[in-house]
């Protein structure tokens, strides 16, 4: 029978908490850490010394405070030295980045992704981008892991991409493929793009401090990353949040998943372009062109944007009624749709949402912008480091 956590476990926990704090909040004085973590000064001093010895943080003199008394030392994450690789596999592009501890993107590469590219074909492309970035690597840099954000349903246990209707992937082991291709002996963690984006926005973006958040990510399809009660909602296998496949119209348009009338057939790329009479166009640029045409007075584009906005409001009202979030974030193409059709989105939401659920809901666009999938993918990799700082580094 165990009585309680051992000294060792407590220390590991405290090290993780301290590192997480500077990772999320940036440079912090020892005095602030003492208050924020509720530990005494000598403990903070000892923990900081351990982390500094492991090369994860540095301590330095603060800027002039202008106040009396000995200034408290400032603890900074080693953002330039300790990093993770982050990949984002989107419908039309592949992105690779090097993200430092503290969440800053240090280096990045971007490639076009022809639609229909398989995981086995995508991995060498991403590996090539990483090789380029490696050439500019500082000598003492340490990689602590890699994270992947992918548009598709990801099995939580092993990162297998079970189904990505928009990428055309079925049962693709992208994590393993990238691992072998990169030859890095660090684990590769895979997550759904909306899930990792909400992770990033919750840690250091628009939703910081909010415990009930829905992040809607749109491209061809639409998915949601959901944080409920401060925890990521993953579902049993890790597939939760496929809100784009809520059926909203009984005899609606055919969806790529095989059903009819899924929500994403109305608010996703195909739905908007179809309604605007541009069915042969595709891609994010084509969607932005519709918003632009609507702004310039193209009547058909205006109708298409309003309809899509109305449908967006329907679905958001359903989600708000079910989850009672304090914030809904519109990311990917949903950002552009929301900003172009906010009057329709809000009107429909206000009409269909239950008054009690609507009371405190805030509608926002991502603070991290298009970087959220990359920053979130890196968070996946940093999670292991933060759980046990001295072991991983």
């Amino acid at each position: 029978m165990r009585v309680g956590p051992s000294q060792d476990e407590i220390r590991r926990q405290n090290l993780g908490a301290l590192l997480r704090f500077v990772h999320v909040h940036g440079a912090t004085t020892r005095a602030e850490l003492t208050t924020a973590l509720g530990l005494n000064r000598s403990t903070i001093g000892a923990l900081t010394a351990d982390l500094a010895a492991a090369g994860l943080v540095t301590e330095g003199a603060p800027r002039e405070t202008g106040r009396a008394g000995r200034p408290s030392l400032v603890v900074r994450p080693e953002s330039d030295r300790v990093f993770a690789y982050a990949y984002s596999i989107e419908v039309d592009r592949l992105r690779a980045a090097r993200v430092g501890l503290g969440g800053a993107v240090l280096d990045r590469r971007e490639l076009d992704r022809p639609r229909g590219l398989t995981a086995a074909e995508a991995a060498p492309l991403l590996a090539g981008a990483v090789k380029e970035m490696r050439q500019a690597l500082p000598e003492d840099a340490v990689c602590v892991g890699a994270g992947v954000a992918v548009c598709g349903m990801v099995r939580r246990d092993d990162g297998l991409v079970r189904l990505g209707p928009t990428t055309g992937w079925v049962d693709e082991p992208i994590g393993a493929a990238l691992g072998t291709e990169l030859g890095v002996d660090v684990p590769v963690t895979v997550g759904n793009v909306a899930d990792v984006a909400v992770f990033a926005e919750h840690a250091r973006g628009a939703a910081a401090g909010c415990d009930n958040v829905i992040y809607l990510y749109g491209d061809v399809g639409v998915g949601a990353g959901i944080i409920a009660g401060g925890r990521r909602l993953t579902g049993h296998g890790g597939y939760s949040g496929e809100v784009g496949h809520m059926v909203v119209a009984r005899d609606g348009a055919r969806c790529e998943c095989g059903n009819r009338g899924c929500w994403e057939t109305e608010i996703g790329e195909h739905g908007l372009l179809r309604a605007a009479g541009r069915s042969d166009a595709r891609g994010r640029e084509a969607m932005l062109a519709v918003f632009d045409a609507a702004d310039r007075g193209d009547a058909q584009a205006q109708i298409a944007v309003r309809q899509a906005g109305d449908w967006l409001g329907f679905g958001v009202a359903n989600l708000v009624n079910i989850f009672n979030p304090e914030m809904v974030i519109f990311g990917g193409t949903m950002r552009d749709l929301y900003l172009a059709a906010a009057a329709q989105v809000r009107s429909r939401l206000n009409s269909n949402g239950l008054p009690a659920c609507l009371e405190h809901v805030r509608l926002r666009t991502p603070k991290l912008g298009a970087d959220a999938p990359l920053v979130g993918a890196a968070e996946l990799a940093f999670d292991r480091l933060l759980a046990d700082p001295l072991d991983v580094s």
Binding site: D292, D336, L339, A341, N350, S351, E359
Partner: protein, 272 residues
Amino acid sequence: MSATPLLELRGIDKSFGPVQVLRDVAFAAYPGEVTALVGDNGAGKSTLVKCISGIYPTDAGQFVFDGRPVNIHSPRDAAALGIEVVYQDLALCDNLDIVQNMFLGREKRSGIVLDEPTMEQMAAETLAGLSVRTVKSLRQHVSSLSGGQRQTVAIAKAVLWNSRLVILDEPTAALGVAQTAQVLELVRRLADNGLAVVLISHNMNDVFAVSDRIAALYLGQMVAQVKTTDITHAQVVELITAGRSGGLGLTGESATNGNGAAPADSTTGGVS
């Protein structure tokens, strides 16, 4: 989302000669919230803003700022309280760079020379605080900036002075889709940073995209001030054009001020 307004106006009257432009207007702006001020041309939006910023004296009425009654007789009084206005023409000088524009007329000095490093640092910190990533150099002339970037500089200039209330007059007029989106996000961020923001706009999309409350003026009267969650597009358009919508707005012939705090009747729910 605070319950007490930062700025509250009560019973504001304003006439230009025989023409009464504002009639018993009540208005409130809350810290951390965007309050959209909407109304047709000639409804009195600009006059109301000029009364708040001290350009026009009011004929009657009370100003309450931060819970205390105040008098605003000049733009200087307004600035001292932390009220800044960004006008539609932005009032930027094309031949000066971004830092010079942000400090124009209020330059920092060290001794007898200008304190350029401090000004540049303050400008950089302000832009970074607003997560502005579109501006490359602080020393480029404003003439080389796009419309959206100019708007960004004008807004940053307004928040530089520890402002507490920022009034934006049609910030997205004449901007393209992408730049409008950026400016809207900036407006939202100002409020999320704790400022009270008043947004004047004719564009219902902009109003619904960022506002927490909507105040509608109709022929010089404040017909409703409601939360954005309690109203639909169609209702706002009715308030602007007819001064009433269902249970909201003017009631009967003699109504002087429909200080509509009642929740909106959302049964109409129409979407155009």
